[in-house]
């Protein structure tokens, strides 16, 4: 089975090479989509051995993921793993994330950070809110919703088209899983949180922005 990891990267020159080298151990190919980075993300990823495609304008994580997914499908992937470029995940866990798809038990596997990671309390609060929101909108009962660690079977990847350019893509994916009634499974993963000065992920205004983007998406034909 051909497993391809898709890593969207925007200005991640500090971490991308290590991430690519680590991930390569567990997949057949690594596809990095450089989302219009202003730094050396592209060169570093290439030197580390990734197949690199580049957006000449920054289009957002959702857009980069969709590009990577399309490329992975063209490269005949049987399983597609999405992974973050910032080094918050543990590459070894790809084995666990991929397994349910490999064994045909699930079409989509979603990484869940609860239980395994040391999450700051405020962050936890918003993540919990997001799970309730997800239950209401998509019908999926999850413990974690905005986690970039996922695995898709080829068929599932073909069915899910990411249209949200920015962070709302995470909710969009879940909604489409629900609508297509794909079989999904949650697998616990580790998310490393760095010192508070190094801000990662979303804040309150970002969550509001996501809600607004989702609302807009509903009104676009």
């Amino acid at each position: 089975m051909k497993t391809i990891a898709v890593i969207p990267a925007y200005n991640e020159e500090r971490t991308i090479a290590d991430v690519v080298i680590e991930v390569q151990k567990y997949v057949t190919e690594v596809v990095v989509v450089d989302d219009g980075s202003a730094d050396h993300t592209m060169e570093r990823a290439k030197r580390a051995g990734a197949i690199v495609y580049s957006h000449f304008l920054n289009r957002g994580q959702g857009a980069a993921l969709e590009t990577g997914k399309k490329i992975a499908l063209l490269r005949q992937a049987d399983v597609i793993v999405t992974y973050d470029a910032d080094g918050q995940f543990v590459a070894e866990e790809i084995i666990n994330v991929v397994r349910p798809v490999m064994e045909g038990r699930a079409d989509v596997v979603l990484g869940a950070r609860f239980g395994k990671s040391n999450i700051p309390p405020v962050k936890k609060f918003f993540l919990k809110g997001a799970t309730i929101f997800t239950r209401l909108t998509s019908g999926l009962n999850l413990s974690d919703t905005h986690n970039g660690f996922r695995a898709f079977s080829r068929e599932a990847a073909e069915k899910i088209t990411i249209e949200q350019n920015r962070m709302a893509h995470a909710s969009e994916i879940l909604e489409k899983i629900g609508r297509q009634s794909l079989r999904y499974e949650e697998v616990p993963v580790t998310v490393k949180y760095f010192s508070p000065q190094m801000r990662r992920g979303q804040r309150l205004p970002d969550y509001l922005k996501i809600l607004f983007d989702l609302f807009l998406g509903k009104n676009i034909k």
Binding site: V33, G36, M42, E43, K46, R47, I51, V52, Y53, S54, H55, F56, L57, R59, G60, A63, E66, T67, K70, I71, L74, E163, N165, D213, L216, G217, N219, I220
Partner: protein, 119 residues
């Protein structure tokens, strides 16, 4: 009142511009009819302000001027909403263009380590 003449003149000018743009094919017939109708109504309100008081009374708003303010705000919000949707649509189209370009740039991955100079 002088303001009435000034504004009426301005509206005639705007309607004239709409007709010209219609002729040039910049505005569709539907849009042109909408805008001409819209400015025509504005013209009536300016020349006969009492009509709004009548309407205001009819719907239960105190003064005609208030009614106009309320309706304008609703209209402005609606237009902003439409524009936001349109912008998002354009954003998504830009993404499609960027994606197509990215995927066509396949050559750099098959062999030589060249840095692509796109910007």
């Amino acid at each position: 009142m002088l303001i009435q003449y000034l504004l009426s003149f301005l509206i005639l000018l705007i309607i004239y511009r709409v007709v010209i743009k219609w002729r040039q094919g910049i505005l569709t017939s539907r849009d042109s009819v909408f805008w001409i109708g819209f400015w025509f109504v504005v013209g009536i309100i300016i020349l006969l302000p009492d009509t709004t008081s009548y309407l205001a009374e009819l719907v239960g708003v105190g003064r005609g001027a208030d009614l106009i303010v309320y309706l304008s705000i609703v209209l402005i919000f609606y237009i902003i909403f439409q524009m936001t949707i349109k912008i998002e649509k354009i954003e998504r189209n830009i993404t499609k263009v960027v994606r197509t370009v990215a995927m066509k740039d396949d050559t750099e991955n098959n062999g030589q380590q060249t840095k692509n100079e796109k910007t």
